[in-house]
């Protein structure tokens, strides 16, 4: 061992940078239908292979194949398709509104719609979702009024969050949607705590949490897994691997040498890797995990393997760090196209109906946006009364905040006087 070379530091790098031609052939993608589907009551160890594989239901021709085919009703498939398309239309319009300066920030989930939508359909309406900023599809799939979402984005007079929270960081208790945090990862142990409480109360509702592959490096991810495993919490822990964390490739989060789903193995809980652009696969795996949780078998970690087609957010410029056409090369296609093809293959859908639906949704979003703007927009208002900014810091407003509230009122009055 004497004449061994000195140590060297390994730095992970993205496979493709601007100027490169993306080539994803290095991904060994199992064929659709190949993955085994263990019983919901199986031992976690029986799922190990699933954390290295990839559950796929839709094959390249759009046929549903294999043990994981959830055999959904055409009507459910159409509703899922609609929710994905509405999410996309909503994203497009709101992105434009930000570009027009009507709000300061927006963030799309383009290409990842099957994640939130497929999972929302696999959960019960009253299961509690602890999402990230990229699961707007949960609200849309649960038919939450998009005008209400827009009101939050515009921080207008109808914004239930009273202008306090950055655009898109929704909160919708009645939709089983937990208040989003700007700090990534924190929701993971919180979801586990909610699930533990539900189990403690002998309730039947479960919790679901989402985290990005990049954010899974945070200690919160570990804390969530430990508590979920130790107390067998009825929770679904979802890790959305969309290949990018702003400009950092998934390798920087530890994805070079292992799948993220395999993180589950060391905790003795099932870890399943699923094609995140295949709504049927997403639904089936989520449903499996939900049934398992509801029957007191504890948590499941699901890695949703997808691709972030959108820029990170309106503040981002992906052309600085990845090839502009990388998304088109993504081998697992587009979730909307794939479900559309599947439905057409079933004879339950057509290009005409698809175009018609797209047009209808376009109009729905346009109308909602027009309505929302009548309640105000961030840049011009109207907003809630600034005096409300002192509310809800505590349940009852303490003296110091009452003083500060009065001080602000005095200063505003002053400003009115001499403009």
């Amino acid at each position: 061992m004497k004449n061994r070379p000195p140590l060297a530091l390994h730095i992970p790098t993205a496979r493709f940078r601007p100027g490169d031609t993306p080539d994803f052939s290095y991904l060994q993608l199992p064929r659709a239908g190949e993955a085994k589907r263990p019983d919901v009551h199986c031992k976690a160890s029986e799922t190990r292979e699933l954390s290295y594989g990839l559950v796929r239901v839709l094959d390249d021709n759009g046929n549903a194949v294999g043990a994981w085919d959830p055999k959904l009703e055409p009507e459910t498939l159409r509703r899922s398709l609609r929710a994905m398309m509405l999410t996309r239309a909503f994203d497009e319009r709101m992105f434009r509104m930000q570009r027009q300066g009507k709000t300061s920030f927006y963030l799309k989930c383009t290409g990842e719609e099957a994640v939130a939508v497929g999972q929302a359909f696999a959960l019960n309406r009253d299961d509690m979702c602890f999402g990230t900023y990229r699961q707007q599809g949960l609200l849309i799939a649960r038919d939450w009024p998009i005008v209400d979402m827009m009101n939050q984005i515009y921080s207008n007079t109808r914004d239930r969050l009273k202008g306090r929270q950055l655009s898109i960081l929704y909160s919708a208790r009645d939709a089983g949607f937990f208040t989003l945090s700007g700090n990534v990862g924190t929701q993971f142990p919180q979801a586990v705590g909610w699930a533990m409480a539900s189990a403690y109360k002998r309730d039947r509702r479960i919790a679901a949490a989402w985290i990005g592959e990049g954010s899974s490096a945070e200690g919160d991810f570990h804390h969530g897994l430990i508590f979920a495993a130790v107390y067998r919490a009825p929770v679904i822990l979802n890790l959305v691997n969309n290949q990018w964390a702003i400009s950092s490739s998934q390798g920087v989060a530890g994805g070079e040498e292992a799948t993220f789903a395999s993180r589950a193995i060391g905790f003795g809980i099932p870890g399943i890797r699923v094609d995140g652009n295949d709504l049927l696969a997403v639904y089936a795996v989520t449903r499996w995990a939900a049934d398992r949780a509801r029957s007191n078998q504890g948590p499941t970690l699901i890695e949703l393997f997808t691709y972030r087609v959108a820029p990170h957010s309106t503040s981002d410029d992906p052309s600085r760090y990845r090839p502009g056409d990388e998304g088109q090369h993504w081998p697992l296609g587009d979730p909307v196209d794939r479900l559309k093809t599947h439905l057409i293959g079933l004879g339950e859908w057509s290009d005409e109906r698809h175009q018609q639906l797209a047009a209808d949704l376009e109009e729905t979003v346009r109308a909602a946006n027009a309505e929302a703007q009548t309640y105000g927009i961030l840049s011009e208002g109207p907003h809630h009364d600034p005096a409300t900014m002192f509310e809800d810091v505590y349940k009852e407003m303490p003296w110091h905040l009452r003083e500060q509230q009065a001080e602000l009122a005095r200063l505003r009055a002053q400003r009115e006087e001499k403009p």
Partner: protein, 337 residues
């Protein structure tokens, strides 16, 4: 009524709340079967079962994160942080989450959790079993910070904290667990028994949050203190033979400002004491508040007697701890000027 030391009083508070409210659950490191390293939860698991009082993994960030989720569901979790010195891994969950939940959700969600943590020195615990981090939390809006100085207050305040719908940080002066301690480390240890404040109702009662108590009326100067330092302040006043008014804050934030302002306007002098390091400590806020509100009544500079701006040095505990001698010295200085 029963005679209780502070450990028993805290235990009784949780006992009462577990009995009254099925939504109260208690967890933390070693607090279940074992009853906690300071025995504060002793017997509770045996009485209320493992579903309600249980051991947790060693991950303070996880403890608080999980408690926030439970609170959002509708429970009233009480978590123990084994030592205040170990609360930092939970800092993000406390500051970015628990403290913000109600605000950022427009009131849809809140985190009615109580975080208990023994704090302060006096037991030769060295740098990492002696800290007083309260000043890091009084700067954070959305949380309440409570520190008792007697068994009676400890039980009444802890019950109020558990019943409170906002997150409460409840720091327990570990040196006061078994007896009042005025800083005379070289004298025999006093037990709580015999002290009036060790007479504690067995049942439910509250000491409201946000109310200070004037533990000694006086006219020469006002001393603001909390936790262990309340006892030190009283002893120092005796040593200095002055007629001091001593106010036990009990709740650090939201602060009970009126009796403080009234007292300083009366005495014209103010001394602030805490064990935490001086710079940027809670004493600075107290000093600023008193100065802003009593400026024209002040006859001498507001003084702070605090821990030095160093980690708590193991072998030099009694040179570090701001004992009665040091406080008395400051009292004399305040009265001289």
């Amino acid at each position: 009524m029963a005679t209780m030391n502070m450990v028993q009083a805290l235990n009784s508070a949780m006992d009462v709340m577990l009995a009254r409210d099925p939504d109260v659950v208690i967890f933390g490191e070693d607090i279940g079967f074992f009853g906690g390293v300071f025995r504060v939860t002793e017997g509770l698991q045996q009485r209320y079962g493992e579903q309600r009082v249980f051991d947790a993994p060693i991950a303070e960030g996880g403890l608080v994160g999980v408690a926030i989720g439970m609170g959002a569901y509708g429970l009233r979790p009480v978590v123990e942080c084994q030592f205040a010195d170990y609360i930092y891994p939970a800092f993000d969950q406390i500051v970015s989450e628990a403290a913000r939940l109600r605000y950022r959700s427009g009131g849809e969600f809140n985190a009615p959790l109580t975080i208990r943590a023994p704090y302060g020195g006096g037991i030769f615990g060295g740098q990492t079993h002696s800290q007083s981090p309260e000043g890091l939390f009084t700067h954070v809006c959305g949380i309440k910070t409570v520190i008792p100085s007697t068994p009676y207050d400890a039980k009444g305040l802890l019950i109020s904290a558990i019943e409170d719908d906002d997150p409460v940080l409840f720091f327990e002066p570990k040196r006061l667990y078994s007896g009042p301690f005025a800083g005379y480390h070289d004298r025999p240890v006093e037990p709580w028994a015999g002290q009036p404040a060790s007479e504690v109702p067995i049942d439910h009662y509250r000491v409201p949050l946000g109310q200070a108590s004037v533990v000694r009326e006086g006219s020469d100067l006002t001393i603001l203190a909390y936790g262990t330092m309340v006892h030190v302040a009283l002893a120092a006043a005796r040593e200095a033979e002055v007629d001091a008014e001593v106010i036990d804050l009990r709740t650090l934030w939201p602060l009970d400002i009126d009796p403080i302002v009234a007292s300083v306007k009366k005495t014209g002098r103010c001394l602030i004491v805490h064990e935490a390091t001086r710079t940027g400590g809670y004493g600075a806020e107290l000093s600023a508040l008193v100065q802003e509100r009593c400026f024209h009544h002040l006859e001498a500079p507001i003084e702070r007697v605090t821990g030095w701006d160093t980690p708590y040095p193991y072998a030099f505990e009694w040179d570090y701890f701001p004992g009665p001698h040091r406080v008395a010295d400051a009292i004399r200085r305040a009265l001289a000027s």
